[in-house]
């Protein structure tokens, strides 16, 4: 089961869960994903130990997709 989560004030919120075979769940996840991008979140996927990449489209095969807010110099 893949998960789309957003880091927020609650710790994190699960926005969608899907399996690649479940088309309806994937569509819902894609919708939730785009909604978060529109809100200004960036989507991150781990790509091995110590590596991550930002994605613009929902990687359906990814186990975990994390939405994060922008960072800036303090």
């Amino acid at each position: 089961m893949s998960r789309l989560i957003r880091m927020d004030r609650t710790g994190h919120t699960t926005l969608a869960e899907w399996t690649a075979e479940d088309g309806h769940a994937v569509d819902r996840a894609v919708g939730a994903f785009r909604e978060q991008l529109d809100l200004g979140y960036f989507a991150m996927v781990s790509t091995g130990e110590g590596h991550a990449e930002q994605v613009r489209e929902l990687p359906v095969d990814a186990e975990l997709v994390i939405m994060r807010l922008p960072i800036s110099g303090g």
Partner: protein, 219 residues
Amino acid sequence: MADPAVAEGLPEVAGVYWRPRVTAARLRRRERVWTAYTVAHVVPFLATSALLMLLQPLAFAVAAICVAHAWIIPALYAQRGANVLAPKRARDASEHAERVSVGLLGDLVSHDARALHAKTGLVTERGSLGTWVVGPAGAVLVRDGRGRLGRADCWCVRVADPDLPSGDRIAHLLLALRSDEAGFATVANLAFSGAVWRVRGRMRAAARPALDAAAKASR
């Protein structure tokens, strides 16, 4: 060919387009500037102190003030560096949110890093520029491979929402760092660059093991 679904580099870099992208060579240049800056603060005060004592030993009090200035100014800069790793708890985050955020952070790091976070509130991460110590509102890059004699570059960098629980704030910085290390250092503001021991001495005792682990890892 690049995958159009994958973003190239950290998007936040576009917000600081005037900054040259950080490289190892640029870090070394900045390091020399910081060293020169420190020397420029210390030497005149020490020289004045020595001259005063030479000309008029009764001016001992003034000479002592000069020596104190020579010590205090670099110490304040080092304190500014250590402050980037100071714990910053969100105003509104509940205990539950903190626990949930730390759980997610734990999923992103190794067992050792998880244990270190439980002890220090900080996470270490190896990168190509050196080893990073990441906190909720900043990060320290330890490099040079000389342990505590190595170099610590202290960066102020934060996530847009200050009310996020601390684990989430670290996770934000960690994911950004992992996706584009040089971009991360470009977006962040350099607060201090100096010897690791100078920063370590001004950190809270509980957090020092994280810096020690990074210094060891960078050897």
